[in-house]
Subunit: 416 residues, 2 copies
């Protein structure tokens, strides 16, 4: 490294440092940091953009803020002239689960894969410039491998190494079965990096093992090893569980400005710093200032959270929508009449429920007819929005507020 | 079973029992015995021969008596009208060892495979009727599998099940690496049985795990499960290690009558029963009689061993050659002058050595020139054969006897 750094001009050296500072911000781990520095230095000397990979699950994408932690980091690479390689793991998706045991991993058709890729494109377009992104489908090379080539690939890794993956290790320890084909998912992800000669692979910390497979196989195939850049996983609105669709604790980037804003206001205070750092586009300097102002008491936590909500809405819907969402929130929840203490209803399950059933279920009404009457009289609000349709289906989210008339409120808390 | 047996005539039932008695003789384990009985019963009712599989290593075959334990059992099935399926694992052989670590598993060309198959055919022809044998090469179906099909196959077995194989279990326990591709060898062997719809698979007890893979995969693919028929492994001339080429403790079926006979005479007395049972074609009644006569003292162990030697030579070279080998042995080793007690030389290594170096090495002579002179004077015998060429290369085998002049003998014992 020192040798290479000596070849750099002062200006080039400053540029390496500048990029390193950006990419390091908010990161959980870079493996190894020195190699990232070398890669950046080489890209400057050779005037060659780095290839920065992100692997994507081919199943129906519903991008939420949890995903944007990684996507924002990708954008930073793009902003500095590097090439983003999105790889859709359609080969895995088309296979499904050969044991038939996992309902989650259903078999996808070509049509599904195409549709999902399009959805990714549309959603990612809100975060990065998709015209500059490389899109790959790994079935392109994986479906062509024959048994002999698979054996050659398998010959480059040991069973013990694979069993080190946390979830495998745990299942072996608890006597839970691991089907042999599962060993191939990390192999495929690693082989993708061999084929595309990736310089860097991004992912959440839960991808630690799989991303290191890329380094392992690139080395075995005599290629330059990629650098692993691991981002923290962000907790959802409940402040406990990792943000995910299945936990219903997420803010989707396709959600309406009001929904986004309202949900942002419901995150626990302790998570604010992390959200500012990982899901907004504010600069490190801006974020530092906010943190300090909260700490010193200049900025009230509620106001900081409103700034967070506004920033998030602005990122996905623009400034006007952000200001409107803020106004709406102030009107309904602050100038309005939501008391500080609201009775809480614990809720299980995640199906949709009709508004009438919900009202009876949480015991706001004794009978369906009473509930219907109140809806028809426009006396019910869900998250500050009047319910106008007695047939309306409600998807319960954590922190959802039901208001009956002017003064009666309950707040839903999801029990997982 | 009882249901099926009721459908049999008395004559058919007797036939099932008769075949069961033959196949069970000398066997280590039948898994499961009841299913073998059912298979035989069905083959009688439907007048359909059973498919009896033996998998063969595609590397250079040098068939010795250790192999014939299984081959003799195969012949019994053939004699009763069943079909022998020989499967040459050429797919594995052509791959070689992708890790490059095993020298033993070198990559074979099509030419090698063809040549080795021919060699098998010639050698097996001494034991069974090759015109009735089915010959298969597993590359025919295995090389056609694509990655997706491999994943489907891998989805039908768990990692824990594979780790149960003794050698894998041991290597994990001792922290020795298992390359992932090694998991595929038992899968392939199992899949071969799926493709060929084998009824029975034969092998040594060391094939226990691999043969049960056939049952496992046949079931997973919705086929009838094969019966595993496991034969004991036979110790070599040293009486300790399993007979094998690398241990130099074997009797090859291509060896000369004199070599065969001489080697047979060198096996330890304790192994005689086992040899009679597993490597000769004597009937159970004949073998029982020999055992009893030895026990009661009617038959001297040395005479029993001569009968064994003669039987083995007769099986591979015919009766005349057997009688000549016996005469030769009597003349050289009995009427001749080999004393009962011969000094023993322990020997390490397995390279060939020139006769002169050998003589000096075992300290029969002080110098090479003395040794050369004695050879030129025809004063040296190896295993009773005069050495006529001072350049002769000697391959040391266990029990090899060097004779100098009339009265000086040493016996070589291989140290492994």
């Amino acid at each position: 490294m020192s040798h290479l750094m000596e070849r750099l001009t002062e200006k080039q050296r400053t540029e390496v440092k500048r990029q390193m500072a950006i990419y390091s911000q908010g990161v959980q781990e870079i493996i190894p940091t020195e190699e990232l520095e070398i890669k950046i230095a080489k890209s400057i000397i050779e005037n060659r953009p780095l290839k920065v990979k992100l692997g994507l699950d081919p199943s129906a994408p519903d991008v939420h803020l949890g995903h944007t932690v990684v996507l924002n980091k990708l954008r930073q690479f793009q902003e500095n002239g590097h090439t983003i390689q999105l790889i859709i793991g359609d080969f895995t998706g088309k296979i499904g689960d050969p044991t038939g045991k996992s309902i989650a991993r259903k078999q996808l058709t070509d049509e599904d894969v195409k549709h999902n890729a399009k959805t990714y494109f549309e959603q990612f377009g809100k975060i990065m410039d998709m015209s500059k992104v490389e899109l790959h489908f790994n079935s392109q090379w994986l479906s062509k491998l024959n048994f002999e080539e698979v054996i050659q690939l398998a010959g480059k890794i040991t069973v013990a190494r694979l069993l080190e993956r946390d979830d495998f290790e745990e299942r072996i320890a608890f006597g839970k079965p691991i089907s042999l084909h599962e060993f191939f998912y990390p192999l495929m992800q690693g082989y993708d990096s061999v084929i595309l000669e990736c310089d860097i692979e991004l992912g959440g910390t839960d991808q630690h093992f799989n991303i290191l497979m890329g380094r392992h196989f690139q080395e075995k195939f005599g290629k330059d090893k990629q650098v692993a850049l691991l981002m923290p996983l962000i907790e959802g609105l409940d402040g406990v569980e990792k943000m995910s669709k299945s936990k219903k604790n997420y803010i989707g980037i396709d959600e309406s400005p009001q929904e986004m804003y309202g949900k942002a206001m419901s995150i626990p205070d302790e998570l604010m710093d992390k959200y500012f750092e990982l899901v907004t586009d504010l600069t490190p300097v801006q974020i530092q200032k906010i943190k300090e102002e909260i700490k010193s008491g200049i900025l009230h936590p509620r106001d900081a959270k409103m700034l967070l909500g506004k920033t998030i809405v602005r990122m996905y819907h623009g400034l006007d929508a952000a200001e409107q969402a803020e106004q709406h929130f102030i009107q309904v929840f602050q100038q309005g009449s939501i008391p500080d203490e609201i009775p809480v209803i614990e809720w299980r399950g995640n199906e949709e429920i009709s508004v009438i059933d919900l009202l009876v279920n949480v015991k706001l009404f004794q009978s369906k007819s009473e509930a219907r009457r109140m809806i028809e009289n426009r006396g019910i609000k869900i998250n500050g929005e009047k319910v106008r349709d007695v047939q309306q289906q409600i998807s319960i989210t954590d922190g959802l507020i039901i208001q009956v008339g002017k003064r009666k409120f309950v707040k839903m808390i999801i029990q997982s």
